[in-house]
């Protein structure tokens, strides 16, 4: 049992001293998750609004597909993205394999269904009178979209936080597409996996603590925003 306690103490020491290798993994994770989240929100919010707002034949089927994609295995996304961006793949010339943008691409694919499904649910659960009200006050199509998203901001915030949690904590895509290259594409999660394999708990625990702290900070700020908006 001593080595676990020792690992935690070393972890605190690593963080306190600002260990460069640890901070590099933290920075890589923050960079890649910010890019993938931005992309998934830009693509997922309008799609989610569209799916939640409109009624069309086959809507239930589309919802089922999106809901299935919620549990997309990260290793499968990793495999697909790897195949796409490897030298022989259709996007091979872009040189994305073993880069942070490559990981971001995979993570965006992971996060988009989460954003779409949760946004659609939030928009669907809105009072139908909202749309009538916005339109009767003169909203055009773009203003209708933006105002509806703004009215459903708490549902969308929940969608973003859930997607962020999924992106931050995934290992499969970062490992397969990023290659876990030290100082370059090594993220917090791939670093933890590697260090644990080596039997080195300290850095793994330290990064785990950072992940928890980020999750905590995100949730605190969300509940703060929610309270302020009331």
């Amino acid at each position: 049992m001593d080595y676990i306690l020792e690992g935690i103490l070393q972890a605190v020491a690593l963080l306190a001293s600002g260990n460069a290798e640890t901070l590099s993994a933290v920075a890589a994770t923050l960079k890649v998750s910010s890019v993938s989240m931005a992309a998934s929100l830009v693509i997922g919010l309008p799609l989610g609004f569209w799916l939640g707002y409109h009624r069309f034949p086959g809507k239930r089927a589309v919802r089922t597909v999106v809901d299935t994609l919620l549990s997309l295995p990260t290793v499968l996304v990793g495999l697909i993205v790897y195949a796409l961006i490897s030298q022989r793949g259709p996007l091979g010339e872009m040189g994305l394999l073993f880069t942070l943008p490559g990981i971001a691409l995979g993570q965006a694919i992971l996060a988009i269904p989460v954003v779409v499904a949760l946004t659609a649910t939030a928009v669907e659960s809105m009072d139908r009178q909202l749309s009538v009200t916005l339109r009767s006050l003169g909203a055009d199509r773009r203003q209708l979209l933006l105002s509806t998203l703004w009215e459903t901001r708490f549902g969308i915030l929940a969608a973003a936080v859930t997607a962020y949690g999924r992106v931050m904590t995934e290992v499969g895509i970062s490992m397969m597409v990023g290659g876990n290259i030290k100082w370059h594409t090594r993220t917090m999660t791939t670093a933890i996996a590697l260090e644990t394999n080596k039997g080195m708990f300290a850095m793994g625990v330290a990064l785990g603590l950072v992940l928890l702290a980020i999750a905590f900070a995100v949730n605190i700020s969300v509940s703060f925003l929610r309270r302020r908006a009331r």
Binding site: Q129, T133, R135, S136, L137, A229, R230
Partner: protein, 345 residues
């Protein structure tokens, strides 16, 4: 010389279907600018659908609506923020009263005098801006919320204001404020008002014209009384509708036992005197209410017969002679051959 005002709305062969079922059918109808039009009729008769179509909130299944002479539809720049609908359950957005009222002005990018317009609109519905402007949306009573929603429409200084049962769920003070604010809009800006309501005093005292909607069809009010089914064949080869109190509504056999029938109101006799049959159907009823049609001086009498409320329009002298008052027991008599069927085609 004054030219006759061209209609602000012109309806042509309008039809609306939901899930294949026709809910509204208006072959043709015109509304003059600045008119106050009342819509009455039971729930599900198509009032709200007509208002949503006139407000260009939804597009019709067939036909078209001309706004000031040319066809218009949802999201047309020409009608946005000029034609506005106050829905039955207005939705207030998650923001302050001020921001709710200013929302429409913000949408059309109107910065100049926005605050002044918001304050005037709030004052028009009887909400002191100093007390209410900064309130959050959830700190309002039902009547206040309805008035804020109306103020949001008034801030636009609309050409057409459509209101769907604006006073159905508010107290008397709010109802009066809403009525006055809507009339002031007509007086100040020439706003055309179209109001769906069950509130008879609203409709008959305020409106220039009242239309009766029944089963998706528009009728001029006062000329027809509706006799709703369902009908069952009777022993006399006529169709009957048994009422809860054991009386029977009797009509000539038709084609659709679920269709409503109607009778020209002047063929319906309402009287406190005993009436003998002589081939007529005679029913016992109770006077529920009297409402004055301000424009013509006639009186709309509503009588409870069984579970139905039948209406008839009486000339003022007839009413004076009869001395009718709510609560009076009366006879309702009509010759069954005067009953006709609503054309379902």
């Amino acid at each position: 010389m004054t030219l006759p005002a061209s209609p602000i709305f012109r309806i042509e062969a309008l039809e609306q279907r939901y899930a294949g079922r026709r809910v509204l059918h208006v072959p043709s109808l015109e509304i003059a600018p600045g008119a106050i039009v009342g819509l009455m009729g039971p729930n599900g008769s198509g009032k709200s659908t007509l208002l949503r179509l006139l407000g260009f909130i939804e597009a019709p299944s067939r036909g078209r609506i001309l706004f000031k002479g040319s066809p218009a539809g949802p999201f047309d720049a020409r009608i946005r923020s000029r034609v506005t609908l106050l829905p039955q359950d207005p939705y207030l957005m998650n923001r302050s009263v001020f921001d709710n009222v200013a929302y429409g002005l913000k949408l059309r990018g109107q910065r100049s005098d926005a605050a002044g317009r918001v304050h005037r609109a709030l004052a028009a519905v009887g909400l002191a801006p100093a007390r209410f402007a900064r309130r959050p949306w959830y700190a309002l009573s039902g009547g206040e919320a309805q008035r804020v929603a109306l103020a949001a429409r008034l801030a636009l200084e609309p050409e057409v204001l459509l209101m769907d049962e604006p006073t159905a769920s508010v107290d008397a003070e709010s109802a009066e404020r809403i009525r006055q604010a809507a009339l002031a809009a007509r007086d100040h800006w020439g706003t055309t008002l179209i109001v769906a309501s069950h509130d008879w005093s609203w409709l008959f005292e305020v409106c220039d014209i009242v239309w009766h909607l029944y089963a998706g069809t528009v009728f001029p009010t006062g000329t027809r009384t509706f006799l709703p089914g369902p009908w069952i064949p009777g022993p006399d080869h006529r169709w009957h509708r048994p009422l809860a109190d054991g009386q029977h509504l009797v009509v000539p056999a038709g084609t659709d036992p679920s269709a409503p029938a109607y009778i020209e109101s002047h063929r319906l006799r309402l009287t406190r005197q005993p009436v003998t049959g002589q081939g007529r159907v005679v029913l016992k009823g109770t006077v529920l209410r009297l409402a004055l049609i301000r424009r013509t001086g006639q009186v709309v009498v509503t009588a409870a017969v069984g579970e139905l409320a039948l209406t008839a329009v009486l000339e003022p002298e007839v009413l004076r002679k009869e001395g009718m008052a709510p609560g009076d027991a009366i006879s309702v008599a009509y010759p069954p051959e005067a009953v006709a069927w609503i054309d379902a085609t």
